[in-house]
Symmetry: C2
Subunit: 346 residues, 2 copies
Amino acid sequence: MVYGRGSFNQLDEIVAPQRKDGMPMVFLIDHFFEDTPLFNRVPLRNNDKIIYADVSYEPKTTYVDAIAQELKEEFGSISGVIGIGGGSTLDLAKAVSLMMNNPGSSADYQGWDLVKFPGVYKAGVPTLSGTGAEVSRTTVLTGPSRKLGMNSDFTPFNQIILDPELTSNAPVNQRFYTGMDCYIHCIESLEGTFLNEFSKSYGEKALELCQYVFLQKEIWDEECDDKLMMASFAGGMSIAYSQVGVAHAVSYGLSYLLGVKHGIGNCIVMNQLEDFYPAGVAEFKKMVAKNKIEIPGGICKDLSEEKFDVMINVSLGMKPLWENALGKDWEKIMTREKLRALYGRL
Amino acid sequence: MVYGRGSFNQLDEIVAPQRKDGMPMVFLIDHFFEDTPLFNRVPLRNNDKIIYADVSYEPKTTYVDAIAQELKEEFGSISGVIGIGGGSTLDLAKAVSLMMNNPGSSADYQGWDLVKFPGVYKAGVPTLSGTGAEVSRTTVLTGPSRKLGMNSDFTPFNQIILDPELTSNAPVNQRFYTGMDCYIHCIESLEGTFLNEFSKSYGEKALELCQYVFLQKEIWDEECDDKLMMASFAGGMSIAYSQVGVAHAVSYGLSYLLGVKHGIGNCIVMNQLEDFYPAGVAEFKKMVAKNKIEIPGGICKDLSEEKFDVMINVSLGMKPLWENALGKDWEKIMTREKLRALYGRL
């Protein structure tokens, strides 16, 4: 990994030894950056290709499969995939890398340790801080029957470049929602049952950095971008030996059914989790108030019982998350009725 | 990297994919563990070889060259080197790995970015916490003309296994001296001029963990081993974008001339550095007192001026360390006379 302001300029040098004869490097870039100055800084060589990733929606398995298929048809194989963007773009890049070398559909690999072969070389360059997608061993995808990641030892990037300069133009709301993904990771990890000293020390550091930028600082400046990028990294590392918890498990149902994006979905759920994380939720609400953010409410009010059932099924399918949050007997604690009531309040 | 109590048991599975036909895995083990139960847990297969590393002295370039030469003569090449031990053993393992694939003597590569080719696969399993050798991009060696590391992008381990159980039998003094290597890293990194947010967040966490185990805790228990192992890792990560400082620069002279081991050497020097790190030295002295450790003194009292000159030359050769500690104009601040006086006080 490389960290530092301006480190994006090292990308050309970093990918050079990974180039294979005749095979392009594919730059998968968040469409937010189309026609921005960042384009001119992408180190294109030979038959390299830029793909602007449409991240209006969370990444779908069908989208991953389509990109991988097109690349195979056009080039046979490629030298690597460089993801430049927020969590969705990074997850897409990881998934496309894997699908260049694994048969079938990415939907076949949603779960834990199902991926069979390493992907092509992949590098991640986050332009938003908070998701931890830059370090995680998953790539969260919405598939035909679930929203679930391709969790595997082959999933993490070979290389990450953390350049806080790239996050400076993020819209304030988006920056907050994504930053809260990190904050919520920390609470879920530190309050979880899977915690060990590795996860704890990373989680505590990430939490402290989030508290600094979202509560202590009076204005947002370069220091905040620097620190939030480290928080995101540390929060992601914390999850490596731990798991997320209730907010993520519930928010996955929202994303699956309603297409609610991950960051804001987590915030909508966290806002209602006093019973599970009382101190964390109180602090979260302070952060919301101090940063003058509005968290949407009432998003489930017109849904049919059938649709509640869909969300409940998706959510209860996230067994490791529930077990981390509530212990081995989680099914006795989080009943369908309780989860129905919680969704009803969102 | 893998972290956790008992994770040493994963070593067999972890190295399996790295084995190459007919080429042994070489386990380089601290001689402290000869005839201990750890021996039976080393996952030997086929023509694998155990070498007990003599770490009575700090690793020498001649020792590295001799091990690499013997392995080449016996096997041609090897699948990899697994270092199991304290910082000296880990540094030896890294250096031997590099010298399996680089021509000449390891002394030719003492410096920054001189190593030409990647080494063979290498994994590190620390049995003492504090040096950061498990993550550093150097391998500190005493050569014919200097004590200096092979600093390069090829130097870090491919894999590390952090199992705090392995540190539980360390002698109390040794544990303290080595732990202080981490504490001193943190002070030198956090008070240095090279600091960025990456180094800062790791350094702060490592510092906090050291303070907890050496000042807050009343007895040494498993939690201390767990936390000190994370502190060592985080302290090493902190140095990745920073540098050590005055204590290390001065202590290298002691090691070169007198063979003083790194951990205790740093403590001897730190004990006299009030002028450079006033708060850090005060806290260091509290740790020494609380842990009932004696720091030797008067070790330079019978040395000739010629020998002082040797130490001064070795120390002033560590330019990046001095620049980190004192800024670009360090040569005006740390004159030969001042350094002579400091050595005289040790």
